[in-house]
């Protein structure tokens, strides 16, 4: 049946269930046990007394976006390494050279991003 191979995922499910339950229980127990006396000063973000200016949800500079984009590009690259690692012993040098070419092309991208200053943090 189609379900045959799926039984190996039961530990994953159990793992997810337990980790979810731990998180939920911690919050729940804390809520039940803790004393609750909120007042205005206590609720402000900085208890040291600095008045926060504006909302926390501010617009940020697009530079973050470039980082995320670069992360995505190299994440895709990393993803291809998994299947490569699986068949490396079967295909051998051929696969090795393919991967080297693949990484060289991406290295050009990295060098480019580096040299253009996309990795420096400047305002």
């Amino acid at each position: 049946m189609l379900l045959s191979g799926l039984s190996s995922y039961i530990p994953v499910l159990v793992f997810m269930a337990i980790s979810g339950a731990i998180g939920f229980l911690m919050l729940l127990i804390g809520r039940l046990w803790r004393p609750s006396h909120p007042y205005k000063e206590k609720l402000s973000p900085y208890e040291c007394g600095i008045e926060p200016e504006g909302d926390a949800w501010e617009r940020v500079i697009p530079r973050y976006y470039v980082y995320a984009m670069l992360f995505l590009a190299f994440d895709v690259e990393a993803l291809f390494l998994f299947p490569w690692a699986i068949v490396f012993d079967k295909i051998g040098w051929f696969a090795f050279i393919e991967m080297v070419l693949f990484i060289i092309v991406l290295l050009i991208g990295l060098v480019y991003a580096w040299a253009k200053g996309a990795l420096d943090w400047r305002y």
Partner: protein, 175 residues
């Protein structure tokens, strides 16, 4: 059993997807999108496409969602919260979309048969050492060109991101 799991996952996925487009707060929409993508990943597992499931989690739930959240940080969500969610043409879009969807469900799917036989394919891939194994072998031999070419697409994406993300100084000159 598999059908039941599928219906649960697909149901959660579709409901979350509807919430993505209808919620007022864009950040909540983004989190619903995570649920949708995760359900799709689980459905890939049900289909015995383990590598695809891993891709879905790593790339979509991981990297793409980071990208989406950063994109949301670029806009002012307080402004957008009061915007109208839908265009005034939305009712027409819904009518046409429902008609098209019904057409596919009633007329096209019952008369069609995919030649791919899932049970046979699962047996075959299991014999070859699993889905990922087989996929990898194809990727690095028969589909070698597509694999190498993908690196060029990633390269151009890096160039595009770096170029378009560069700050312009107030005078308009690039730093």
């Amino acid at each position: 059993m598999v059908k039941l799991i599928f219906i649960i996952l697909a149901g959660i996925g579709v409901i979350a997807a509807l919430m993505v487009v209808s919620l007022k707060n864009v950040v909540h929409s983004a989190f619903c999108l995570i649920i949708t993508l995760f359900c799709v990943g689980c459905i890939f597992v049900l289909l015995h496409a383990e590598f695809l499931a891993a891709t879905q989690i790593l790339i979509y739930v991981g990297a793409i969602m980071v990208l989406v959240i950063f994109a949301l940080m670029l806009i002012d969500s307080r402004e957008t919260a009061n915007d109208r969610r839908f265009h005034h043409q939305s009712q027409w879009v819904i009518i046409v979309g429902v008609i098209l969807a019904l057409e596919i469900v009633i007329f096209i799917i019952p008369k069609s048969k995919f030649i791919v036989n899932p049970e046979k394919m699962i047996a075959q891939t299991a014999e070859a050492g699993g889905n990922t194994q087989l996929l990898a072998r194809y990727l690095f031999t028969d589909y070698l060109f597509a694999f190498e070419f993908a690196s060029l697409i990633i390269l151009v994406a890096v160039v595009a991101a770096v170029f378009l993300g560069k700050r312009l100084s107030p005078t308009g000159k690039r730093e």
